[in-house]
Amino acid sequence: MSEDLSTPLHGEHVAAGATLTSFAGWQMPLRYAGDLAEHHAVRTAAGLFDLSHMAQIEVNGPEAGAALDRSLVSIPSQLADGRARYTVIVAEDGGIIDDLIVYRFAADEYLVIANAANRHTVLDALTFRSGGLQCSVVDRTPHRALIAIQGPRAAEILAPHLDVDLDALRYYASVNGTVDGVPTLVARTGYTGEDGFELAVPANGAVGIWRLLLGAGESAGLVPAGLAARDTLRLEAGMPLYGNELTRDTTPDEVGLGRVVKLDHEFVGRDALVARAQSPSSRHLIGLVGSGRRAARAGSAVIDGDGTQIGAITSGVLSPTLGHPIAIALVGAPAEVGARLEADVRGTRQPMTVVELPFYRRPA
């Protein structure tokens, strides 16, 4: 544990009595008062998350766009300034290295947010793939913090403390502003299925902003929320998690991310993805719901009507919002919505029904 990294907000979490956990080499808050209360707060009011473990990699220079186009399955150089895109980086064989958000600020200025566990892998891949191009790839993670405020009341809590107009900030757009005197990149992005914002700030400004927002949002129901709630929120929203749904053995197509792949440009892994697209996909990502309260979890076998194992659950939980078990599974053949399957929940077969993702969609 002692070799784990700490975020700039570590002292705040300890003071708040958070249960800390070792996650991807970082000491992170798993929960504060309780993960269910934190989950419900994000669905009904707002939650504040420390995401400073996530990698912040700047790619700058006249050929930064070309470097990212070559490195990723999408075409970041075609983004408008101030826009962001959810994307994927794959290996030569088409397997997923990580899922990312790439922000374009200007033609020569980009930011890549990667999963903490893949920070060095992504940094190395971007550095290698941009070889020969006029750009720099710099890991800013140690000097920065990332704070997310998520939930239906996030905008009204944040707006008074920000010198930019949040109403004009669209989903997956970003703007530079100031919070509490600290230069802040504000992005309308998140991983909870709710409206919300992610604030990238210098490390030494994080504590002030954290305290400011916690105080400002308290009467609206804002609470600090940990990684446990983040996981149940993202799963309800049908969002894949690196390590569960996304692995080096899966291609974007197999996990329902074919839409982010632009085969009409050159990038590392393109040839493998084109070749794989010629043959039927061997795996498909599906959503499953059950009844009762006993959740099928990652690793549980998924069994069809003939009693044949057709795949396995990659994430599963008793949905705090819906009250029944939900799960994402990777199976060998496409399954129709409404199809009835079974999950082996620690020795007991439980019926589950195929549904469309996401499980939860926020009220319009």
């Binding site: 249960t19 798993l30 929960r31 269910l36 006993r294 008793l318």
Partner: protein
């Protein structure tokens, strides 16, 4: 964290209160802190035989599943239906309303007093 001294404990983070041949069993606050919010309990059926040190049920939180071990050998005499219906009581009051099951005791397994259990949890 101070824990009740009117009962005994196990290395599996359960508590046992012995009274006139009946053992009432629950999990400790250390266990509920580690688990997070409890959302599902799978308790042994009333009348079933349990063996000290053997799994007899499951306790699930949003994040994990743990086995429940019977601290004693005997026959299940009661289970806490209220906790099955509303598992949050296990977090709210692990040493009281959040008890799990009661056993008519034939033999005890290895049990720790409060001091020994506290020493165990302090070791991390």
């Amino acid at each position: 964290m101070s824990i009740p001294t009117d009962r005994q404990y196990t290395a599996e983070h359960e508590w046992v209160q012995l009274d006139a041949g009946t053992a009432t069993v629950g999990v400790t606050a250390y266990a509920t802190d580690a688990l997070g919010d409890v959302v599902y309990l799978d308790l042994p059926a009333v009348g079933s035989e349990v063996v000290a040190g053997q799994p007899c049920g499951e306790i699930e939180s949003t994040k994990s599943v743990s086995e429940l071990y019977s601290p004693v050998t005997g026959t299940i005499s009661r289970i806490n239906d209220a906790a099955v219906e509303a598992p949050e009581v296990v977090n709210a009051d692990p040493y009281g309303e959040g008890w799990l099951f009661a056993v008519t005791v034939e033999a005890e397994g290895p049990l720790l007093d409060a001091e020994a259990y506290t020493a165990l949890t302090d070791q991390g």
